[in-house]
Symmetry: D3
Subunit: 136 residues, 6 copies
């Protein structure tokens, strides 16, 4: 199996905070990540897709096409923003898991239209912490 | 499937040496890695786990909990040590494979108690060499 | 000349915004960096110091001492915070230049007490952008 | 399952160009990657193999053996070359996909002779673009 | 002193070759770097500038301005090109030293117009090799 | 001024320990770095040199020559060794400062013979700790 992976970055602020919980519980669960003013990260996102390998062009997907989709669906939306202000996260916390699931959902339609399929999505908020989503 | 990956580092000395072999065989099999005084590495370990995704907290596992387990089971034990002196490796060589299998074994109980499951463990001794263990 | 460099990271939110300017000027000067909700970075700070080389210990400065000072003066203060909320930046914008100058000022007293001297301070907000301060 | 991964680099020129297509189509499909004079990359290749774990030596494969095979089959052939000049790519374009498939084919015999099996091959032409091949 | 550093990348082919020398001398001096078909690199360029620190904006130079200059003078010109085909290098070899000196020359006018001064220019062709130019 | 920088790595064990001090003092000064069995690192060394820029070859120093000197004087001597066993460190501790000063001394003669001059030497034992030596 052949997959193509494109890596993008976005710099965003966020605060881990469940509005249905009292402050103490937020502090207990999320620790310093729930500081009221928020904090931020240079998020790194690696998106791996597969598709039909075209022998003539020698490509599974034109990486330029993949770049354009990620630029529109991820970078334009999230870069230099506060994630908590974004519609996608209005009713959720902004853990790496939720961000990864949200991006994965947002990519479904454009990927389907481009004839490609998400194989793996890796979101890192730092060199130390990463969440990986592999659709069944 | 959602997995959470935490990366830790430990700086350790080691020497590849099978005490049941004559020196020539150790040299033949392990080359300069069997130099009597040993050598060392900044080991990088990436541990990926899965568990039940909790919609309320938006987390598979609290990365703080994962960090604490790895701190106790890996960093405290191996960092700034000579691996050959550690009980875990008393009767074995200290190849990347053995270190990975040993850490994987050590993590079984604390991971089970934390309700998480090891999905992948990657141990790198340098930018060039990595061993990956994926439990069935 | 011998210098010792210690690298630390802090994850913080910020917004480039001069309160004495109208919104349009902020947008014109700072662009997307002035988005009202702010954004964030994994900042990397490299601090280089010099001092008297002690032949007996073989050290210019005990790197543990340097680590402790940076932990107290930088990481504790800035990590997982919104820089705009911090007293140090109450009346200033939070450009890399201002952050670097502020940290440099904060380090003067503890460095002097430790018998070391700041030689260079490099602050990066990403792989692309860095500010370097070299006191005369 | 245990796998061993070795990372190598090669610096090569290439030009994306299908000789059966008119220039306009090459430009349309490959964009600036079809510039007549070509361009180049520091390619990074990660090759992951598995085999029988030998308890006595503590190794799946002697990483020195793996290094030698990759040195002969990849680095010697491709490093400091123009990929378009190499016999392997005489009748093909030199997309990451084709390079990965070609290397995978070239490794089949030496890996088989060494008693190991290719599990994954990752070829990156930059920090942004990677192709991954996982044989079934 | 405050300096601002911007890092850009360009992927280019080149061949080390002095047309006034016989082939044997080129091979002797430049080794595999003189292979007729050329080879290539992901070049990394770090450009450090200084200027008047503006207290009001908190900036030495707007990093967006610096980015635009480098985009125009470096990336647009060199990225996805064969350096040997570029006018700048028509009568020279394309060693790192020559590329660095050429870029430095090209930046003189736009930097002067922007009121900034080149302090340091670092060009790397790989993780191993770098040339640094510091104008007096 | 033009300088050429070459980066090499060596994987070594060491123990910080002054034999003239009692164990308690070693522990107090060097902490866990004085663990009796030692520990180890992947050391990274960046050596910057300058020389006469030769317009004909376009080089300050042939990077192949620089590589050969560092291979002989640094990598061959230190890689996959225990630094404390090496003659160079028989009567000294093996702090980054001492290693940097020692390597600098060892390079004096071969650099002089090659017509180049050491400008800067950076030794890192990890991503966090670096020592820099700049001869006057």
């Amino acid at each position: 199996m052949l997959t193509v992976t494109r890596t993008v970055e976005f710099c965003a602020a966020h605060r881990l905070f469940n509005p249905e919980w009292p402050d103490e519980k937020n502090l207990e669960v999320y620790g310093r990540c729930s500081n009221p003013g928020g904090h931020g990260h240079n998020y790194t996102l690696k998106v791996s897709v597969t598709g039909n390998y075209d022998k003539e062009s020698g490509m599974v997907i034109n990486v330029t096409k993949l770049r354009d989709i990620l630029q529109k669906e991820v970078v334009k939306k999230f870069d230099h923003k506060n994630l908590n202000d974004i519609d996608d996260f209005k009713n959720t916390v902004t853990t790496m898991e939720v961000i990864a699931l949200t991006i994965s959902g947002n990519l479904r339609k454009p990927f389907s239209e481009a004839g490609i399929k998400l194989v793996k999505l890796e979101l890192s908020e730092s060199d130390k912490n990463t969440v990986t989503l592999e659709p069944k």
